[in-house]
Amino acid sequence: MSGLDINSITKKFGNFAAVDNVQLNVPHGTFVCLLGPSGCGKTTLLRMIAGLEEPTSGEIVLDGEDITPRPTHKRDLGMVFQSLALFPHLSVGDNIAYALRIRGASKEEQKKRVDELLSLIHLTGFADRPVAKLSGGQRQRVAIARALALSPKLFLLDEPLSALDAKLREAMQVELRQLQQRLGITTIVVTHDQREAMTMADLVVVMGHGKILQAAPPIEIYRKPADAFVADFIGITNLLPAEIDSTGRTTILGTAIPGLTMPAGQTKASVSVRPEDVHLGSPGGSAITGEVSFVRDLGGTIETFVDVGGTSIIAVTTPRERHDVPVGAKVGVTLPPASCVVLGA
């Protein structure tokens, strides 16, 4: 029974269901990313777990105990806010020690724990600094340390890295993941950045319109997206229409793909193919013929946009395996059937 269980949680604002009958089990020590576009209900779900929002129905069970009726300050959790919400009138040390002070810990205990946490976040010696004198990344770490001061059972983060610049954000993602693994704490992060989710999470929960669309390990979400929305949201993908033609073959954009089978009883479906699985070759044969419309050479990878009768197919290659295909050239696009994911509806 250890871990967090979210049982049919619903939150309605008026008639609008921000979170609609969500069911989720988070085993102890798991790093979960709630991923979705803005307005999908991920932050509302997190705030309900924190007790900052009251669910309309359903219950939240932590380690076998129903914590739904408990007010925030009596739940055993730490939370990092998007704005960080560091107390501006307190020093770094006092910010981190706040939870200990509320619990009535002695001055020595507070100091000991603050020093421990500061070394954990690599900010030893910063205890007396005012919060305003810190850089963005340092504030971020102080917010994390403050939330972890009481070694809570649950660690919640609401878009914690969104205020940082791209480089620092990537570095913090790795740091946060390593910290979580060292402490073994159950962690739930809300994010709209799929790279962030892929970097950190054990379990990615993709949400849309208040519902969970898919909950699976990151690589499974990437390789086997449950539907077109998930496939499109996680990374870049080619969503192509597939249908069974009059002779019974499965075709994509009019070209038969041998080995690709449709679900029983279905004649039309969407197929997701990742750009790195698309092969470019010479036109003809079993390949789909198209014309190169744009090439984005990023140095490390090359994205080639191929126009096939108005539909754009993106192929990603490394410079080593790339054939020289200038804009306007006719190419043959091969879609390996094993890499084609047939999506429902």
């Binding site: 806010f81 107390f87 403050r146």
Partner: protein, 284 residues
């Protein structure tokens, strides 16, 4: 943002207009008042230019000392009452929907349009025996018979708090609206009850605003001279009342000027002291 220091006289031109206004409407009248405070009173006429300290000496008596003390005490009390009422009120107001906030603020602004005289007479009616609120208390059985609630110190205080409250709220409102609501939520996730979080986080984060508001209401209340006369007894009269009395009814301009100068100096000293204490606490 970095700004260059002004280099030539031309760079100071934007300051000319405000400087002129300040000189014409503040420096000149105030200097005149300081000068007059050293003049000699001429009982048959007005005053004659001179340099005497009689006016200040006369002020240093038990009676005027008492009035000064009462005025300062009243102003401090009004400031504290206003902030104690307005701070939680404004905080809750900023958590309401936008529309409700606008309605409340418009209502408060309409109170500002009332003159001190109207406020004074309205409260004197409300506190009277014949038509006052005690009649209501009698009607609902809280009291045996209606009583007059004025002239009393409480009536003076109520009137002045009522008058200063809209200003207090309007000064506090912008700072409270800008306050990050997640500060309070953060404190709650760290184990503080909502009330504790309010006093631990919201109040200290707005300390400077609170101090500034206290000073503003204090100075505002210090200048009140109508309400103490309408709602209070002579012992509740403030120094402002006495200054008006001396200047207008006794034609003793030099003495009135001396009292005014003294009042300004004492208030400045108090404001300075408040800021100094605030800064020292900040440094800790």
């Amino acid at each position: 943002m970095r700004r260059e220091a002004p280099k030539s006289v031309a760079d100071y031109t934007p300051l000319f207009f405000p400087a002129l206004m300040l000189i014409v409407f503040f420096v000149v009248p105030f200097s005149t008042m300081i000068a007059v405070s050293f003049f000699k009173r001429n009982p048959s006429g007005f005053y004659t230019p001179d340099f005497v300290l009689d006016n200040y000496a006369r002020f240093l008596s038990v009676f005027f000392g008492g009035v000064l003390g009462f005025s300062l005490m009243l102003a401090v009390l009004v400031a504290v009452c206003c902030v104690c009422i307005a701070f939680p009120f404004t905080y809750l107001l900023t958590r309401r929907p936008r529309r409700a906030q606008t309605l409340w603020l418009v209502g408060l602004l309409s109170v500002l349009s009332l003159s001190e005289v109207i406020i004074g007479f309205a409260w004197s009616t409300l506190f009277s025996r014949t038509a006052g609120i005690t009649n209501l208390f009698v009607a609902i059985g809280l009291m045996d018979k209606p009583v007059a609630l004025l002239p009393t110190f409480g009536a003076v205080l109520t009137g002045m708090v009522y008058q200063a409250l809209p200003y207090t709220i309007l000064v506090l409102y912008p700072a409270l609206v800008r306050l990050d609501p997640t500060l309070l939520e953060a404190a709650r996730t760290l184990g503080a009850s909502p009330i504790r979080a309010f006093f631990n986080v919201v109040a200290p984060a707005l300390r400077n605003t609170i101090v500034a508001t206290l000073i503003m209401v204090f100075v505002f209340a210090l200048g009140s001279y109508l309400l103490p006369q309408i709602l209070g007894r002579p012992q509740h009269w403030t120094l402002s009342v006495l200054i008006t009395d001396q200047a207008i009814y006794q034609s003793n301009m030099p003495f009135a000027a001396a009292m005014a100068v003294f009042l300004v100096l004492i208030s400045l000293a108090l404001v300075g002291l408040t800021l100094l204490v605030g800064r020292r606490e900040n440094a800790l």
